[in-house]
């Protein structure tokens, strides 16, 4: 005997088989409605775009994660250099207070100047890397815009479907829908290794242009 899985409004239970049949009927009804309204092709398009949207969201998660890790690593290294400068400054200060002439004569002051100069250069490099890590904002922003557009298009079409299939007494006048935004360009490469038509790094750009004589 089939398991009762759902209680109907009148209190009786539907079997799993009945629920399965109901789902099948609903699916056929939805399919027929979509086909009748000429939306089947659009739904097929969404089905193709949804996995792409998943890849794009994964790309965002990866890029933001990498950026955060890079920034934290660079901050750690910059702080280490800063600590070094602070420690050396205290040390040379003590040496100068103790014996200023010896501090200069023995080269402590000059060594300190060189050390600080080198450490400052390293700190500057870390700051540049921290700045470069912020490029994730541009790259993920473009990808987010595409996913948002896809969601908006699906929502708009579902609302349209709802309006067109609503019973007459519940029908409302549909507001004219604006044309969905179709990005003219692809934006960042999310799965570059799987696509021979795109480049994945700068060396491939340079090779391509060189091969064409540019």
């Amino acid at each position: 005997m089939a398991d009762p899985v759902e209680q109907s409004p009148n209190g009786s239970f539907a079997t799993a088989q009945e629920v399965h049949h109901q789902l099948g009927a609903l699916t056929r009804q939805l399919h027929d409605s979509l086909t009748g309204l000429g939306l089947a092709a659009k739904v097929k398009g969404w089905a193709g775009e949804l996995p792409d949207a998943k890849s794009r969201l994964s790309y965002i998660a990866r890029l933001t994660g990498e950026a955060a890790e890079k920034v934290l690593n660079e901050v750690d290294q910059a702080k280490a250099q800063h600590d070094f400068i602070a420690t050396e400054t205290r040390r040379i200060g003590e040496l100068i207070v103790k014996d200023p002439v010896a501090a200069v004569a023995k080269g402590h002051v000059l060594n300190f100047v060189h050390d600080v100069e080198n450490a400052s250069k390293k700190v500057d490099q870390h700051l540049t890397e921290i700045m470069m890590a912020q490029d994730f904002h541009d790259l993920t922003g473009q990808v987010i815009a595409k996913v948002v557009n896809l969601a908006a298009t699906i929502e708009e079409q579902l609302v349209l479907l709802l309006i067109k299939t609503a019973p007459p007494e519940a029908a409302i006048k549909a507001a004219p829908t604006h044309e969905p935004y179709v990005p003219a360009l692809d934006g960042p490469v999310v799965n570059g290794n799987d696509n021979p038509d795109v480049v994945t790094d700068q060396s491939q750009v340079d090779d391509l242009l060189a091969s064409l004589g540019f």
């Binding site: 790259l139 360009l185 038509d197 795109v198 480049v199 750009v205 064409l212």
Partner: protein
């Protein structure tokens, strides 16, 4: 001489404009202005003198390809080197940019060294450095 060159950085993301501006400054090119799309860039190019354009491609209102095309059609601007810095990585886009007269093409994400190399290479090629 090279430090007096004036750059126009075109990108719809302010973060990226700041990054490029700071990198150019670190490379010795401190004189730079910014534009958020091709329309604003074209206005600035026609109203002020620039020596170099660094442009994104995917932008609202007027994209980088359209901007490049407008620059190359304009007798007063067509001499300007235009370096594309973009996330667009399709080979056909890269080839199209070169055919339309772009002086160079950098794909995002990029490094400081890449930007510096490309800018210096273009300036050397044009006898500006």
């Amino acid at each position: 001489m090279s430090k007096e060159l004036r750059f126009l950085i075109v990108d719809d993301f302010s973060t990226m404009r700041r990054i490029v501006r700071n990198l150019l400054k670190e490379s010795g090119y401190a004189d730079a202005d910014e534009a958020e799309d091709g329309v604003v860039a074209l206005q600035k190019l026609r109203n002020t003198s620039f020596d170099f354009v660094v442009s994104d491609i995917n932008m609202p209102n007027m994209n980088g390809f359209q901007l490049l095309s407008e620059i190359k059609k304009d007798d007063k601007l067509k001499h300007l080197p235009v370096l594309m810095v973009t996330a667009e990585a399709r080979k056909e886009d890269i080839v199209m940019a070169a055919q339309q007269g772009a002086a160079g093409y950098i794909v995002k994400p990029f490094t400081k060294a890449t930007l510096e190399d490309k800018v210096n290479h273009i300036l050397t090629k044009m006898g500006l450095k």
